[in-house]
Symmetry: D3
Subunit: 229 residues, 6 copies
Amino acid sequence: MARSAVIKIGGHVLFDGVELNVGYVRELKDALVEAAGAYDWLAVVVGGGELARRYVEWGRELGLNDSALDMIGIRVAATNAALLWAYFHGVAPPSIPSSLQEAVAMLPAWRVVFLGGLQPAQSTTTVAALLAEAVRAEKLVIATDVDGVYSDDPRRNPAATRFEEVAASELEKMFSGGLVAGGYRLLDPLTLAVLRRSGIEAYVVAGRPPRNIVRALRGERIGTRILPK
Amino acid sequence: MARSAVIKIGGHVLFDGVELNVGYVRELKDALVEAAGAYDWLAVVVGGGELARRYVEWGRELGLNDSALDMIGIRVAATNAALLWAYFHGVAPPSIPSSLQEAVAMLPAWRVVFLGGLQPAQSTTTVAALLAEAVRAEKLVIATDVDGVYSDDPRRNPAATRFEEVAASELEKMFSGGLVAGGYRLLDPLTLAVLRRSGIEAYVVAGRPPRNIVRALRGERIGTRILPK
Amino acid sequence: MARSAVIKIGGHVLFDGVELNVGYVRELKDALVEAAGAYDWLAVVVGGGELARRYVEWGRELGLNDSALDMIGIRVAATNAALLWAYFHGVAPPSIPSSLQEAVAMLPAWRVVFLGGLQPAQSTTTVAALLAEAVRAEKLVIATDVDGVYSDDPRRNPAATRFEEVAASELEKMFSGGLVAGGYRLLDPLTLAVLRRSGIEAYVVAGRPPRNIVRALRGERIGTRILPK
Amino acid sequence: MARSAVIKIGGHVLFDGVELNVGYVRELKDALVEAAGAYDWLAVVVGGGELARRYVEWGRELGLNDSALDMIGIRVAATNAALLWAYFHGVAPPSIPSSLQEAVAMLPAWRVVFLGGLQPAQSTTTVAALLAEAVRAEKLVIATDVDGVYSDDPRRNPAATRFEEVAASELEKMFSGGLVAGGYRLLDPLTLAVLRRSGIEAYVVAGRPPRNIVRALRGERIGTRILPK
Amino acid sequence: MARSAVIKIGGHVLFDGVELNVGYVRELKDALVEAAGAYDWLAVVVGGGELARRYVEWGRELGLNDSALDMIGIRVAATNAALLWAYFHGVAPPSIPSSLQEAVAMLPAWRVVFLGGLQPAQSTTTVAALLAEAVRAEKLVIATDVDGVYSDDPRRNPAATRFEEVAASELEKMFSGGLVAGGYRLLDPLTLAVLRRSGIEAYVVAGRPPRNIVRALRGERIGTRILPK
Amino acid sequence: MARSAVIKIGGHVLFDGVELNVGYVRELKDALVEAAGAYDWLAVVVGGGELARRYVEWGRELGLNDSALDMIGIRVAATNAALLWAYFHGVAPPSIPSSLQEAVAMLPAWRVVFLGGLQPAQSTTTVAALLAEAVRAEKLVIATDVDGVYSDDPRRNPAATRFEEVAASELEKMFSGGLVAGGYRLLDPLTLAVLRRSGIEAYVVAGRPPRNIVRALRGERIGTRILPK
């Protein structure tokens, strides 16, 4: 059985507003090359970021419903994945996987694959968890714009504390709630349920610097470790 | 814009244990022909039923994880969809859609399409809601083995009452909870969130007799009407 | 044989800088609905615009070569096509065609299809001409940010005059030259060669207001008419 | 249920040696247009002819085995199908179906589809019978280079008589035997078994002139009628 | 050129009636792991078994024709293949190949692939022979519910003797005959013709215990060896 | 990053008129095996040759336009590619890539892929240049029926001299001009523009003997070396 890991990189980690952070992407590649050295397969799921949010906004003004808006946001995320694919593998990118089955199918030959979202009403974090489950990944690293999971919103509540380790079941209680296109939360209920049911250990780390991803894969104490229970 | 409706038919409605209820399927076709007459497009999502549950059990004994188990259950549901496709259209069935995009792509030419599930950790009811949203369906009818949504489990609590009408937001509070392969509930949180965000009116009706589906599509008082709020 | 027309809409017509012109898109839909009424099939090829240019810039900083850059620009154009597809047909968009064959395959069922680019080193105007040729379109309308073809760059040379009518062979002499990713000209040599060899009449019109497209399809005197000789 | 018919046209009917008989193809189109008027769906399966035989010969000299040779012959037949598709529909042809499922999938939108072979060790006549069965075609017409089925080889035995009508079961006894790439017989055992099991009435007629096909579809006395028993 | 072998495993070998024999599948995996060690590529074709037979029965009651019934049986066989794929590779299974070309395309990356049937009126044994031919497999092992080929039905005639070795041409004479959906025989004429024309050596062995497969691949005296002449 | 090279082999190199030169193909395989030893990936683009030209002629008589004619010529080239695939890899060929993305997608698993053309109005030489660019090939070798690029047509002008080395920009001036289906020139403007923009070094060599290809890949002085400037 192939040893594998899955990494989710938030769109807002790759971009500063509507500008790609090119320097960041360079360092990210180095981190991914290092990470790929420790696994047979590595899957990287990227978000759409601010550009996706803009498209969603325009579509909403035109009266598109959430399904169509999500599909368009997914296309922006896949464009980001294509850019990373081209940069990592040094080729004009092939078709970006548009289903879990396609992602699995491409792993044995490419070893490192990049994808965006898959379906409306589904966050790219859920995609990452589903793919981690599909390939029995040893770890899922969620690289985002905060450095872990906090007891409360750290931007509003200075007393909020970061969990070093927390059970998925605990988080389920904290993060339940609504669902609006493009506005998913850090860890939605479905992601947590998937982690729990398949025993996948996840880390939430600050995506910058990208070495945090490597450190989490190595099991270092960084960000928040989410126990699948 | 094409006028459309989506119907979810639970696997346990089509089957009695591991036996297809052939007489039921005959009546169902008549109902679907009638329903199809009132819409440009009709999408029918079918569940896997007891046979899917059996495959899941065997796979679990072999140590497959939930992702693989769900994928196998999805294949059984798609086999049921293929059987209905063949019976409804009188042809050897083409590929059954394996993504929302494929389902949408087939509707203009076929007008009536049948599919099973799409992804692990997703009920066929969620698939039906997502597809209803994707095509801006006027109605979603969920044909299942109870005749509506009850205030409590009617098999255990004789005082349980059936809702004639209930808001999705009310149901969200009632039906939150865990997620186990093959054991999804009548209406999971994601389904309800999708209905709410896109304003889709849904009906939960007893799948037997199949005319209940036609009656719900016509707006008759039957089963439980779920308001998208 | 199906009667058809092809319309190319430049990305810079849809967008003001990096902002979609939502009001324009609304009017464009009305124009396309009207245009669709006169043909069996209508194909709309859209450009990537300023957002594609941005992605190309970021990719270039990362050292991607022109092939990869073009593929990423094509993805942005396809995202624009998906947005228009969703708005025009009122559905979550199916897969956007990624080859001429796929575009042709979708026309009989959808009647109106939207696509972006197809290959590196190929402008979306060339795509439009190739598709016009593939379906023997009666007309190709190129809706762009100038109101026709001029004898010289009208922004620099106030004495430049607009052609009411010009032969493709004349234009070939005027517009030959280099090829840089994302920086194709109004009418490249390949487009002109395709128009000539298949006898397709083309119009270059100002994309704003979108009724210009309808007027060109009707054969009114507008923009520049390019004769296939 | 869509009313349909399937027509098999032998490669040797379309070609004179290695030269396409262009005049014949023109008349064939007229016949197919007329035939298409009487059905919802019409599927036309074409053979590879002498050019396929040549490729098979070259491949055999290179030591390819029969599977590879058949696949290459199938490609030639599909090229012939593409040419007819282009001529009939007036478009650059989309992908030619490479499975029964794809052929069925394209019929509702295109109404008239053209294909070549599908699998090694399978004649295009078998493909036609399988497709006739898949769509419950009312009739299968096999247009070939003889004017029906004879009691013996009419080129060698002048006493051979043509059957006006013959049961498939009778033919099964006559036509059993070996299997060599590219050298299938008029009616192989599998074709006959398919006709029998699904009750499809077939006609073997001389492919020239092509009006014979129309006459057979109309039930006129022409060629040999094969009863599915 | 890749060294390869193909294994056909009858549905009735995997299942006891409608119950998967989980213990058997565990041992089968060990045997396949061992077999895979000796080849570059290994393809495993599985049958549908009793569950496929049930679906066929239900479909027949509904009036589906043999083509549709076979397609549904193929789906059950592919579900069995998906279960084995998941168990062997430890992943949620990608798309199961639905054509010879797809099976060949997946072999270089996956090395061991699992599939069910491909077309109506074709046994999974024929599929295995066609795939063996397509990849120039050194051996085809047919694991079934008898321990070889007998001179007569051993369940009825106690004097029936098992062949240690028999020519395909001899078997052709013994096994000709009719064709009914779901009721194919051990070795149909097409399978034998394919083996002969491409010189593939085949073994018919008892599928239980699964080590018989390994023994046949090693050339041990087991079951019946079918010589391609 | 994978090291790669791309080879274009003209149809007229493989064929003598309408006859495949079998002896040549044998030697070509040896050369390709040797070439493949020096790279991770090798892509071979083949032309259609005289058979493609014949199909184009027949289609033209039927009134097909250039788009359809080119698509049919592409199919003949892909048939040639399938024959080489079967011969090189010793398998029945999988689907021949019909887009750059598909060609890129198949390289990691197959290492050596064969394809024909991709789009109307595009030479197979352009396809080879685009694919070389897509995979950042170190070299592109164009094996054709002349032994390099001459200052004038050597068949008409005995004073014509062969360039040992020439800049793409110089050739652009020499080779501009018209575009007719099936009649592309040795090096069209688009090919040259692609070579220049991506810095790909190309060689034009006589395709016979095939060792010329190996020699060009090794950097020996042979044919004409085209500098990407």
